[in-house]
């Protein structure tokens, strides 16, 4: 096979477009920061940055879990509702378990995520349907509490997590570490490959001996565990657990994942990209108030962002019918 077999290299334009797609999120982020600094010179001040990073922490935790599920080719719509549910149980456990309550609620999350994952994979129900049901279920169960919210006592040990370590919010360090460890796992172990293989071509992955079922279920377990942690973080920040905790976070989470450059169709993406996506979403949110447009516009912006970013990252050649 000398003359006939040639390496098909995509035309230059295509490669440039690929590179642009890959680095576009970073460029957008840098552009946003420059623009906002010009508009308001103290945007880069330490106080502003601390605030931004602090408020980004739960979103980063949500989005890290979601990234893994989306890369597998699924989606988890139940995360925000489950975070509310988890925050209540967290607040309830704290008096008895102290910091152990965090671990307990995360384990609960992992277990619930496993159940959702098993239903999705074994009963072959699309993940958005299973988790849409989950969304209503957890939101409803959270409301069954007799109290609208449960306070975390001000002398409780868990509130120590709310402080700062050399100027950096502790919760942000926690969120950053989670993202870092997840990113490392995806890069340095076979799990990351399995996730991408399952998301790109599940049949080929299955026929190569990749543990397809286990990978998918683990992704959902991890995602719900992250949602539980995010719920606890918000509860610590607000010193109470309530059904409404994290309620508004589903849309920004999906926005952060796709804006960062993870394809909503699966297979392509990464936690690193999601970190950039989270920052874009948060800087945009801050930007809105800086330019003087109210919070009312936030949802409109995220909605538009999700659609545009998904369109830009989808590999259209892969799909015949989109459901």
């Amino acid at each position: 096979m000398t003359a006939t077999a040639t390496v098909v290299v995509p035309p230059k334009q295509r490669r440039e477009l690929d590179a642009l797609r890959r680095f576009a999120p970073v460029l957008v982020l840098v552009g946003l920061v420059i623009g906002l600094t010009l508009k308001r010179s103290d945007f880069l001040s330490i106080g502003q940055q601390q605030q931004l990073v602090e408020s980004a922490a739960p979103l980063l935790v949500f989005a890290t879990g979601m990234t893994v599920v989306v890369m597998c080719g699924g989606i988890d719509l139940s995360i925000a509702a489950f975070a509310g549910f988890a925050s209540l149980w967290f607040a309830r456990f704290v008096p008895h378990l102290g910091i152990g309550a965090l671990v307990a609620v995360m384990l609960l999350g992992a277990a619930i995520g496993t159940v959702q994952g098993v239903i999705h994979v074994k009963a072959q129900i699309p993940s958005f349907v299973v988790t849409l049901g989950g969304l209503a279920l957890w939101a409803g169960l959270a409301l069954l509490q007799d109290k609208p919210s449960i306070l975390i006592a001000s002398n409780s040990s868990v509130l120590a997590l709310d402080g700062r370590l050399v100027g950096v919010p502790r919760l942000a360090i926690l969120a950053g570490s989670l993202a870092l460890v997840t990113g490392l796992l995806m890069w340095a172990t076979p799990v990351g490959r399995w996730v991408r293989a399952v998301g790109s071509n599940e049949t080929a992955a299955y026929l190569s001996g990749v543990p397809v079922v286990a990978t998918r279920i683990a992704a959902f377990a991890f995602c719900t565990m992250c949602a539980a942690l995010a719920g606890c973080m918000v509860a610590i920040d607000q010193t109470n657990g309530s059904p409404g905790t994290g309620r508004t976070q589903l849309l920004p989470t999906v926005a952060a994942v796709v804006v960062g450059g993870t394809a909503i169709t699966g297979g392509v993406g990464g936690v690193g990209r999601t970190v950039v996506g989270v920052l874009i979403v948060k800087v945009l949110g801050t930007g809105l108030s800086i330019i003087g447009i109210g919070q009312k516009w936030e949802n409109i912006l995220y909605g538009a962002l999700v659609i545009v970013a998904a369109a830009l990252t989808i590999d259209g050649s892969k799909l015949t019918v989109v459901k």
Binding site: T6, V8, R193, R196, N201, A204, L207, P211
Partner: protein, 506 residues
């Protein structure tokens, strides 16, 4: 029939897909009210020809004439407007709709008024189509509740509805219509073809030579993308047609017969009484270092057997024994862990992951061997992958290039390397390993198969052509209708004649 302008004529048609020349300078004619039979092995160019006729594929060169006028079909609709329609092998009806809806799907005409179904009119129009073929299938029936032959009749009625769109007498293409029918149903279908002849021309594609002999007025035999012969049933025999299909090419050096090593007598893989929905009570033993060619037509169950051995298809009964031990874990992952590999026929959709790199694709099944503890050792992986890239002469700038950027032959080598990389590979199942490859790439795949066998790996190989099966295997096993119908041992010393093998396939 003689001097009249043919209903359809193709002159000098050629079509190339990437490295594969599917059809070369073919001239083909369908006369008015004639039944034309089309015979050929897999890969002979039958499906490409059909696709060109119905506008699914545009030929690279050549001209097409419809009733003497030059035409060019860019779409299926264009072909339908010229009165050409196809009854597909896998049926194309929507199961949840009624017969009437299916027949008029996409061309409801007067059956729809301002976007709303006029049910009575719709049923009348559909009934008119069914009347053409004298069928008594109720138009109100839901399609999923019909039997397979009934659905086929509905398809034929549906295709005939193109009559109303055009001034031409229709040309109806039947792609393997009898492959899933039993005797009596075949007879009904043939009556139908006789009836069709009164109003249309028919092109009938089939594996079954006798059937084509029985109904066709004229038969084309295709081989390697050219018309190998044109015969009338009265002036030929099934034997001659069979010979024409297989050809007498030199099976030549590209099979690397000189590399064929003797295989040991030790059994390696024993398949005992394996049964599923697609095959029944299959018993096959592969010896250590043996290459067994598995022959059979579509529907013989040989593809499914491969998948079942690999654990990707559920079996109802039977055992798989590897080196004397029963294989318990029935999943691809379990199979990989005991040393069984499988190369699927559909490389793009089942074999490779286009967005991932060459290296990642190659190490996908045996990723454990390039890990240190739980962590990927990228240095080691690169060494191993680069080694295989060199040994198999895979043309790629590096191992980190996305898989989809390689040519088909090189992709296939990467997918093969996935199994070669594993040090303890014992059995390799190859489902059409050379599909879509050019001659050079095929030759390299054959060489690999020989080398693997010489190293003690047992291989079960499904090939497109019989010459390939015979040249490659130590033994040839034939399957028909889900059962092993024949076995030809000691292929090297006494090569079985392709027509003898084919007798047991059909």
């Amino acid at each position: 029939m003689s001097a009249a302008v043919p209903a359809l004529r193709l002159e000098g048609i050629s079509k190339r897909f990437g490295a594969v020349q599917a059809i070369t300078d073919m001239t083909f004619e369908v006369r008015r009210h004639e039944v034309v039979g089309l015979l050929g092995e897999n890969g002979a160019g039958k499906s490409t020809l059909l696709k060109i006729l119905v506008g699914l594929v545009e030929p690279d060169t050549g001209t097409m004439y419809r009733d003497g006028q030059q035409v060019r079909f860019r779409t299926v609709t264009a072909a339908a407007d010229a009165g050409i329609g196809m009854v597909y092998q896998e049926q194309s009806l929507v199961p949840s709709l009624t017969v009437a809806e299916n027949i008029l799907l996409g061309c409801e005409g007067h059956g729809v008024n301002a976007g709303v179904f006029r049910w009575r009119k719709l049923r009348e129009l559909a009934q008119a189509q069914l009347d053409k073929i004298g069928s008594n299938i109720p138009v109100r029936a839901v399609t999923s509740q019909l039997t397979f032959p009934q659905r086929q009749m509905v398809e034929i009625a549906k295709v005939l509805s193109i009559e109303e769109r055009t001034a031409f007498d229709p040309v109806v293409l039947l792609d393997e219509p009898t492959s899933v029918l039993d005797g009596p149903d075949v007879a009904v279908l043939f009556e139908q073809i006789e009836r069709l002849r009164e109003r249309a021309s028919v092109v009938l594609v089939s594996h079954r030579i006798e059937e084509v002999m029985a109904v066709a007025d004229r038969i084309y035999v295709l081989r390697n993308g050219v018309v190998a012969a044109e015969r009338r049933p009265t002036e030929t025999t099934t034997d001659e047609l069979r010979h024409l299909m297989i050809g007498r090419e030199d099976t030549g050096s590209h099979f690397h017969a000189e590399r064929q090593a003797d295989c040991a007598d030790t059994p390696r893989l024993e398949i005992v009484g394996l049964s599923s929905a697609h095959f029944h009570d299959v018993n096959i033993t592969l010896r250590k270092g043996e290459v067994v060619g598995l022959a059979g037509v579509q529907g013989s169950g040989r593809e499914e057997l491969c998948r079942a051995i690999f654990g990707a298809l559920k079996v109802d009964a039977g055992e798989i024994i590897l080196d004397g031990e029963k294989v318990k874990a029935r999943s691809p992952r379990g199979a990989v862990q005991v040393g069984i590999g499988y190369l699927p026929a559909e490389r793009r959709t089942e074999g490779m992951i286009g967005t991932m790199s060459v290296a990642e694709n190659m190490s996908l099944a045996t990723v454990g061997t390039v890990c240190r503890g739980p962590v990927l050792d990228r240095e080691r992986e690169k060494r191993v992958v680069d080694d295989w890239i060199e040994r198999l002469r895979i043309r790629t700038p590096s191992g980190s290039v996305p898989m989809r950027q390689l040519s088909g032959g090189n992709q296939q080598k990467v997918v093969l390397a996935r199994w070669l990389m594993s040090g303890d590979l014992k059995v390799l199942l190859l489902d059409h390993p050379t599909r879509g490859l050019d001659v050079g790439a095929k030759s390299e795949v054959y060489a690999l198969v020989r080398d693997l066998a010489a190293n003690g790996v047992s291989l079960l190989v499904l090939c497109d052509g019989l010459d390939e099966t015979i040249a490659l295997g130590h033994r040839v096993i034939v399957m028909r209708d889900g059962e092993v119908s024949a076995e030809f041992a000691a292929v090297r010393d006494a090569k079985p004649r392709p027509d003898k093998i084919m007798e047991h396939m059909l």
